[in-house]
Symmetry: C4
Subunit: 207 residues, 4 copies
């Protein structure tokens, strides 16, 4: 009896959000891991054959950090969700779609020593992922109200908007001065490496 | 002591269903992600080499949306399960089997610019997945009774049945007018993009 | 305060077993899914090129069912675990190791139209997985005592032992009458398709 | 009402740590599994073609055991975490990064019959993973205080430090006496095969 009550309660309370988190974690964990499958073995066993891999390693590390950043911030973002709606589910799926293309553009950019079009494609995927993250955060706020934890924590979301502008500049720039595009991508990564303490602080105050 | 009691209780209460969900989420998360491994890098770095990828991208996006729809609806379906039986476990495994073939038919259809047989195979896998989903929902209803949440929420399941009919038409049609088959597949995707509010509503009423 | 108490309690109570299940589920979900990556696309788009895939599909389906059976029974087995020890963790890892070789032997047997050595290798991996499952169940019983749920439910484990004998016969037989080996493998799969109601019943009685 | 209270409570209490564990488990489960994708099928079906695979199997087994060891010890380490901070999250991501390179060096070393440079690369990745694990444990201790469960359990961490020294010796040695490097790697694996009973004991005492 008691068992059934507990089961019902926990089921209705937790499942929704748990599965949203579990599914997102699953997809992100797989994305961060399968990129290593694109690190094709060098043909030889000397230093030269390892050097050939250098650009692939650099793009692997950059993408690994980017996906880890998204996981980290997604973690904080979904933490504030109280009601999972269809709109939140599909905004989340939209974000996962763009993240799922990161291994593809990583391999392409690494394979071709950061040629113009691959760098533009890489920037474009990051731009769309940034936009999708922005839409997801706005969707969560619209569901939970302007006075919710997330809304007051994020405020005007200068960090999110400036990243999107940065990527939007990096896409066309890739065709003229790709070094600057790469610089912008790395700079934004550093900007986000610091976890989103805005939400973290707010949640703590409310505990 | 208390700890042991809690452990026992939660173990017997939650494990069954949790693992069914966790395993299904795991498989679906992997399926939606490994499809990107079939997006082989273009050989060049110019726009032409990116254009060659267009049909692959289209089939990737379609399959991504289809698997996301299945995850979303599976989520709502399993939400109503109270007792996990052997029949439910195997109906679920049957559904996962057909979903597991989606990356294969996606790659085949995309690689061959939507030739007749690959489009028929794609429709066939969607047909069998639709049938498997229908069997799973019927199995859950038969275990939980005709007055259960799921049963009253789904009713006669017109949406499920009409999708199955649609796919069943699309399979043979692929050999004569494949454009219509592709149209049917896309139309059914839109039909399902709206989350299954029937179950959602019913669950809310009961909360 | 209360929050901290709940956290501590649940942490010490559940984590151990949850992670054992979660990790096993993760590995098994990935194994069952990555096998589809070995289903290489046919080169053409006609029926002949699909027929060439037939043996690969047959081995894919067989392995899919086998891994699903292991997941299903592993689920029931670990359900009875109360204390996770180092011996249980490593017996479990040992089982996962042999299961991890199933995609490899599946692809090899399917690619070579069920030649002698690949069939023997397939049987051998199933044999070792059966032995590992037997060791795991014995390890769990030895930790929980002879009067535990699992011990009384499994009894003398005739099903487990007869499967092991079946595989042990199938391995050498593959070199002389491989058709019989394949028959044995399929027969044992059917034997296990029925979920392990012995444990299921026992657990229900104790609820 | 009650439901909302439970939800809030559990959400703020558990999510953080659960997701850290779930994400790490996901990544480690994928790493241990995708290595089998590098076990490319032999071209023939005779014993000779299986023998060619021998070095790949040996490196597969070694890496499988190494990743299982890391999962096992990571399990015990994170078990003691009470507060998840940004520093812990990124130390954990840093560890996962080095673990993610294990499939790559495994395939390279196995493919080339344990040539000098691949063995050195293998040792180097293990060295960096060892250092990352050490940093993670120090980070957790610095967050939880010198009197925490982990701190008193690990003590001076002779096992961790001696492993790091072992790998640091194995890297340069690979170029002169690679057999000794391989011996060191296998010896350290045996050293860690025993689960970290130091933490296990301490946690039990506190239960």
């Amino acid at each position: 009896m008691y068992c059934l009550f507990i089961k019902e309660m926990l089921t209705y309370c937790l499942m929704n959000k748990n599965r949203l988190e579990a599914f997102s974690d699953g997809v992100i964990a797989i994305l961060i891991t399968i990129m290593v499958l694109e690190l094709k073995m060098p043909h030889g066993t000397d230093w030269a054959s390892l050097q050939v891999l250098a650009p692939k390693f650099i793009s692997y590390i950059t993408s690994f950090i980017y996906i880890a950043i998204y996981w980290n911030n997604h973690h904080h973002l979904v933490h504030t969700v109280k009601h999972v709606t269809g709109a939140i589910l599909w905004s989340n799926t939209h974000l996962l779609f763009w993240l799922s293309l990161i291994p593809f553009v990583t391999a392409w950019a690494g394979e071709n020593h950061f040629a113009e079009l691959p760098v533009a494609a890489y920037s474009f995927v990051l731009l769309m992922a940034g936009v999708a993250y922005y839409i997801l955060s706005k969707t969560i706020i619209s569901v939970h109200g302007k006075d919710s934890v997330l809304s007051t924590a994020i405020g005007k979301d200068l960090k999110g908007i400036s990243s999107i502008i940065g990527y939007a500049v990096a896409v066309p720039l890739s065709f003229f001065m790709k070094e600057i595009s790469i610089g912008i991508i790395i700079a934004i990564a550093f900007l986000w490496l610091i976890p989103d303490t805005r939400i973290e602080k707010k949640v703590k105050e409310d505990d």
